[in-house]
């Protein structure tokens, strides 16, 4: 499964992450350290943005990377890039932490804790280094209307649903749905246009 990333033909080249993950399967401590150095700032920044507390955020980041160390074989490099998968795992963990202290826990009570499914890159996606990708996404987000940006951030970083966002912003439910959908579509179009 993992080796498929090295044998499949296609436009995408083998990423440094794929090489490191292959070594991680053989419990290569050095490979783990390199993966941590490459992505810990992104993961920690995401978790800290969600939890707003440094000590708890470090606990979650530690859990995420230990999960990666212990269950590297559960990541299917053949089907999708590594960083979105890692960020999805980190976001899920952070939101779970957030919900433990929140009444909104009911929303995901029925969802068992597990590793996220593989995030498949769309056809228009091209391999970019993390720095360029981050700059581009931030620029596109900045181009959204404040309402679109606010609604998307409440959903992504705080795990709120449509109706919860509507209540928080005191706006009609349909309006909130439109903000989120239109904002995400604009983001998608921007990514397609610039890749």
């Amino acid at each position: 499964m993992f080796l498929a990333a090295f044998t499949s033909s296609g436009p995408r080249e083998v990423s440094p992450d794929a090489t490191l993950l292959l070594r991680l399967l053989h419990k290569d401590v050095s490979a783990f350290e390199q993966l941590y150095d490459r992505h810990s700032r992104l993961v920690y920044g995401l978790v800290l943005r969600i939890l707003q507390q440094a000590s708890t955020s470090e606990e979650v980041v530690q859990d995420v990377f230990l999960q990666l160390w212990r269950n590297a074989d559960q990541y299917d490099a053949a089907r999708g890039p590594f960083v979105p998968w890692l960020c999805t795992m980190a976001r899920n963990r952070a939101l779970d932490h957030l919900r433990l202290k929140s009444e909104r826990q009911r929303r995901r009570e029925d969802q068992p804790e597990e590793l996220p499914s593989v995030i498949v890159a769309p056809d228009y996606e091209k391999a970019l280094d993390e720095k360029r990708r981050a700059e581009r996404v931030r620029a596109l987000m900045a181009s959204l209307t404040p309402q679109q940006k606010k609604a998307i951030e409440l959903a992504y970083f705080e795990g709120l649903s449509h109706s919860e966002i509507a209540a928080a912003l005191k706006e009609p439910l349909g309006t909130v749905k439109s903000w989120i959908r239109n904002g995400l579509l604009r983001l998608k179009e921007g990514l397609q246009a610039t890749t």
Binding site: V29, R49, W69, P122, M141, I180
Partner: protein, 266 residues
């Protein structure tokens, strides 16, 4: 396709996790039908949502976090590099377990055998004690027989004829040895009534003194009577006569029936 269209508006919010429970259930039900177009749309939307992670300001975790992580990872890597021990299986070799088991069995057998031997020793001691008592009894009987023989044979023994009264014409004979006691013997002696015995009395010379109760006997099936009195009165001089009566089994403290045999000592 019209059916898909109503879900397409929800796909991005579904990937974002922002759908309310009813909408989420509806999308998942539709995806469960195997709609390939919508499944592909969901995959793209998930990737899109993942890009939002880049909008969070990057921040550096503490060096301590990396230190803790690397320490844990190195420890786990080292433990996995060691020879693999199958969980649940002991590192103690089989032969050692077999030795322990044999020792355990031997210990149990030894304890059981010791207990058995102790029981046998106790039973042997009890048998020995019983035999000792029996031996002492036989020795006493033998000593009595020797004393009786001496009394009968010793010329120093004083011979006393006990004459029958009433319906007992048979004459019994007593021999009194001043140191060994008195023997009384006779033949064709009538059997006393059931639950009765013949009891010997020593009648004192002193006027008004009560008769002294002594030994009891029943003749054998042939009417032969042999009685040994090991503790007669200390002095024959103070004894007027010897008498025999029939008394209830166990004897009496005072004669309750007429005298059957009697004889003067002097």
């Amino acid at each position: 396709m019209k059916n898909c269209d109503q879900f397409r508006d929800l796909i991005e919010a579904y990937a974002l996790g922002a759908l309310d429970p009813e909408d989420r259930a509806a999308v998942e039900a539709h995806l469960a039908t195997g709609c390939a177009d919508c499944a592909k749309a969901v995959e793209e939307a998930r990737w899109l949502v993942c890009q939002l992670a880049y909008t969070a300001p990057e921040a550096a975790p503490s060096d301590m976090l990396k230190g803790r992580l690397m320490q844990t990872v190195r420890a786990e890597a080292q433990s996995q590099a060691k020879p693999h021990v199958i969980p649940g299986k002991s590192v103690v070799p089989f032969w050692l377990w077999a030795g322990v088991a044999a020792l355990l069995v031997f210990s149990i057998y030894s304890a059981w055998n010791t207990r058995r031997l102790i029981g046998e020793i106790r039973e042997a001691n009890e048998r020995a004690a019983a035999l000792n008592i029996e031996r002492q009894k036989i020795e006493e009987q033998l000593a009595d027989a020797k004393r009786q023989a001496t009394i009968m044979m010793d010329p120093a023994s004083h011979k006393i004829a006990l004459w029958g009264e009433h319906a007992h014409p048979e004459t019994l004979e007593a021999k009194w040895h001043s140191q060994l006691g008195v023997c009384i013997m006779g033949e064709k002696v009538p059997m006393p009534s059931a639950n009765h015995v013949l009891q010997v009395w020593f009648i004192p010379k002193k006027e008004g003194a009560p008769p002294m109760p002594s030994a009891m006997v029943r003749p054998d099936a042939n009417g032969k009577l042999m009685l040994y009195v090991s503790a007669p009165p200390e002095s024959m001089d103070n004894t007027k006569a010897i008498a025999i009566t029939e008394e209830p089994a166990g004897g009496s403290g005072w004669p309750t029936t007429p005298i059957l045999w009697s004889g003067n000592v002097t």
